[in-house]
Structure formats: C-alpha cells, structure tokens
Amino acid sequence: MAGTISLGDAAPVTIEIARAVIEARDHLSEIDGATGDGDHGVNMAKGFRLVVERLDGKDFDIREGFATIGDTLLSDIGGSMGPLYGSFFTEMADALDGKTEIDPATLAAMLKAGEAAIVDLGEAKVGDKTLIDVLTPSRIAVEQAAGSGKDLSATLAALRDAAATGLESTRDLVAKRGRAARLGERSRGVLDAGAASCELILRTLANGLSERLS
C-alpha cells in the first residue's frame, strides 16, 4: 500500500536524522551563539555520533532506532537537549509499540507523544522562542492532515511546511525559556537554535519517509 511505510523500511531514516544533525553541528552552534551559549550543535552532534556508533552493523527498525536515540540522549547527553530530545524520541518509539507500519495517524500519535514529553519537562509554550515553536505547529499540521484523510505523502509535506514556517516564526520572537531568556528584547531578530535543530530533524524525517514511499 502506497500510503504507509513499514518500520523496517523506515529504519535508515534514523541514521539520516543522526547524520543531518552531525553535519549541522557548527551551524547549530552558531545560531545558539547569537542568543545562548553556542553549544547546541556540539551537544547534539556528540549525542547523535554515539547513536550512529551504537547502531552501526545492527539490525533494527525505526522503532528501535528512535528508542536508541532516546536512550543515548537521555544517558549520555546532558544540557537541556538530553532530556528534551531524549524523551521526545523515547516517546515516539513507544508510540510505535505494537505497530508494523507508519501511516498518517501513527505519525500524528508519535508527534503528539513526543511533544507532550517535551512540554511536560520544559513547560515551554508556543511563542517562547524554543523548539516548541516548530514542534507544536508541526504536530497540529500532521493531525489535521491525518484527520482530513490526506495520504502519508501529503501529510509529510504538511509536516515539512509547518516545521519550516515554525522555524521562521522564531525569528521575530523574544526568548522566554532557556539561556536566551535573559536577553529579552535583544533575542529578537535571530532564529532559535533548538527550533533549528527541531526543524532539521522533522524535515529529515519527512524527506526520509517520503523517499521510501514510492
């Protein structure tokens, strides 16, 4: 069926996400440098390099891949990103429990569970200039697409668009969370680092799944 993709087929997307983050290391740190402490790319890349090492030569599906990302970030990466993205991937993996394939509804459930974990821990709201400004609209877009009967391809396109729009929305915001918060008005005018990594992760996920859909 063209509207879904099996967990096994989706496995390489795990590695694609990891590689995308590792490649964006300096870029993400630079964005963080503008308003935070300039280590976002470093932290993220260190975590995802461990993920690549751990999955190397292993046989796994995307559920196990995401569980490994979650575990690795939670256990080995501190900062805010360890718990936030660690819980995010752990919850997305848990949402795949008992599933054999990803369809629009499953994707929506994954994002909803991941988002809930991040909000529970970090208590950020849309407009606080965090990764939530990417994640929440993306989750909503996927829910709406799934709810209105769009197929997986269209749903993934909606995810990609919402993430990009969400990222761009952080430019005009004043930071309310994290290290950037102390900047106040001076944080306006630049993107948020966590939002940038979140958009990258969601875009790579969307592209990776789309590619394997044909």
């Binding site: 740190s29 402490d37 501190g78 360890g82 718990p83 821990l121 994290g178 102390r182």
Partner: protein, 333 residues
C-alpha cells in the same frame, strides 16, 4: 585555537583523569564515569550533599567536593548540564541512608535533569530534596526569581549545607540552611572578553575591545548593559550598586567573594576587592569572610564576579567550619 587539550570533543573526560590522578586523597572515581565522590566519606552517616553542573567553570563544581562541602558531583560537558543518569548516580554515591540534598544552579538543563534524577532516585528509595541557586541578580528582574541563574554564590550554599551536614543535622535542616544561604546571596559579573568552548573552536559571543558586558552570564550570556570599560573603582561601584539595590544589607556582617572569570590576573581581582571592601565599610557593612581568587570561572573569559552573602550567626558559624577541597580549604577557628 591555542589551548592545552587533545581532542576538543573529549576535554571533559581527559581532564577528569588528571583530577583523579592529582587528588587521590580527596576524590574518588565511581562506577559512573561522570560522577566523583569524596575519597573518604567520614565515619558517621550524614545527609549526603550533591552538586553538579557543566564543565569549564573549574574549580566549580568538582572542586567543592570534600570534607565540610559536597559528597558527590555530577559532571556535564563544557557549559552543559550533567545527564539525569549522572545526577542519579551522584545521589546514590552520596546517600548514607539519611537522604540527599542536591544543591545546584538554576539552568533549564540542570532543572530537567535533576527532576528526572530525583524521580529515578525515589524508585531506589533515596529521598532527595533540592535547592536551586539563583544568586545572579543580573539574570532576571527581582520579581522573576525563578528565571535567575546560579553563579559563584553557589559556593556559599555548598559551604553552609556541607558544614551543617557535617554537624549531623537532618535533611530538612540541611535544605533549610542551604536555601537560607542562597537566599541571602546576590552575585553579578562583568565580562571583558569572550571565551572559546574547545569543541566550538571559536568564541561563541563577542565583547568588543573597550567595552564591558555588565551582568554577563557564566556562559557568556548577554548582561544588562554594554558599557565602555570603566576603571576598576567604577566596576566595583556598579556591581555593588546593583547587588545592594536588590537586597537589604543593613549594617551587618557579610561574606564577600570576588572571583575571576578565568583570565583576569589575580592582582586585578585583589585590586577590585580593595574597592569593594572600602565601599562596604563606608556603608557600615563589614566583610568578615573574604574570598578573592578564581573560585568559579568560565573557561578563559576575562572578567570578574562579585558575590555578597548577608550573614546571621548560623551562616557565620557554618562558613567558619573546617572544609577541604580543591577550590576551598578552611582551617577552622
């Protein structure tokens, strides 16, 4: 980047090896590679005192582990919170059956990781209570204490909490006095040059030559004002003004801590202290405990931080109590 490192992504682990080799009498490794504990925990079970935070602030945080101070420390990457797993392991190392006081600084990452670690410890049956330091009065307005960061004032919290634990107090008491210590403490920093996280290879912020960042954060976070570099006398006045406006300091004794941020020569820290001492005495405030040195740094940042703690009889006694660690040794009197 002209630095004394090997792989820039491994400075934290590489540095810990040296710390352990240099101080076997003081610090011991644990099963968790990012957790150190006191080499000798002492005889009678006490309330365990734990701290933790990112690397790059040395001697903080691991330099405040030792008799009369903290029992275990969770160590993060440079400028990043330790993992929940590390905090959890530190709780287990420190626990002697009387509960654990986790005394740490208010940063998003640390808050989340401590929160998760406390839950994990609860499953082990270890009771952990926390005090989150927010002494940096430049990091948010007075009506937003929850947004204020912990900086060098944490040392006062560790000293008070560690000393009360050594006296045999229970967890509630240790938590209460640690909270009193940090609630009685205000800090502010002035940054004069940026620093470079080795893994980044270049400074992640800039301070223009001839300007100073008043109220800079311990990771180079922007402060409350960028001003032309002022004479030390004025720097002291600016910092003191901000602290004294933030909290009532009326005629009592205080502890004063002037810490370099990394690169500022010790002679300049003393130079600044001289002005602070004079200005305090002019206001009838007596600095009875005086600390001048590199107590809480930010890699090789040029700059200085000032911390004031208002002392009652109990805090005065606890600051005088003996302690031994890399960062602070008090002979006792």
């Amino acid at each position: 980047m002209n630095r004394v490192i090997n792989d820039p992504d491994r400075v934290t682990e590489d540095s810990l090896a040296g710390v352990l080799a240099a101080h076997p009498d003081l610090l011991a490794a644990t099963e968790h590679p990012r957790v150190l504990r006191r080499a000798d925990m002492g005889g009678t079970p006490r309330v365990g005192v734990v701290t933790g935070g990112g690397s790059g602030h040395e001697p903080a945080f691991l330099g405040y582990v030792g008799p009369g101070l903290c029992d275990a420390v969770a160590i993060g990457e440079v400028f990043a919170s330790p993992t929940a797993k590390s905090f959890h392991a530190a709780f287990r190392e420190a626990d002697q059956g009387r509960g654990v006081a986790c005394l740490y600084g208010n940063y998003a990452g640390d808050n989340m990781n401590v929160k998760m670690a406390v839950k994990l410890a609860a499953k082990d049956g270890i009771r952990v209570e926390t005090v989150v330091a927010n002494d940096d009065c430049a990091s948010a307005p007075p009506d937003q204490p929850e947004n204020r960061r912990g900086v060098a004032g944490e040392i006062m919290m560790w000293k008070a909490g560690g000393a009360l634990s050594a006296e045999g107090a229970d967890l509630e008491q240790v938590i209460a006095v640690s909270r009193k210590a940090i609630d009685s403490t205000r800090s502010i920093g002035i940054g004069l040059s940026a620093c470079t996280i080795p893994a980044n290879g270049k400074p992640n912020f800039t301070i223009e030559a001839g300007t100073m960042e008043v109220g800079i954060g311990h990771h180079g976070e922007h402060g409350i004002a960028v001003l032309p570099v002022a004479p030390a006398r004025e720097m002291a006045a600016i910092m003191l003004e901000k602290i004294l406006a933030d909290m009532e300091f009326g005629g009592e004794n205080v502890a004063v801590l002037v810490s370099g941020l990394g690169a500022t020569p010790l002679m300049e820290l003393y130079l600044l202290y001289g002005h602070v001492d004079e200005m305090l005495r002019a206001r009838n405030i007596t600095p009875t405990h005086r600390f001048v040195g590199n107590y809480f740094t930010s890699l090789e940042m040029m700059g200085v931080s000032l911390t004031l703690t208002r002392l009652d009889g109990e805090l005065d006694r606890l600051l005088r109590a003996p302690a031994r660690s890399i960062g602070l040794t008090v002979l006792g009197s």
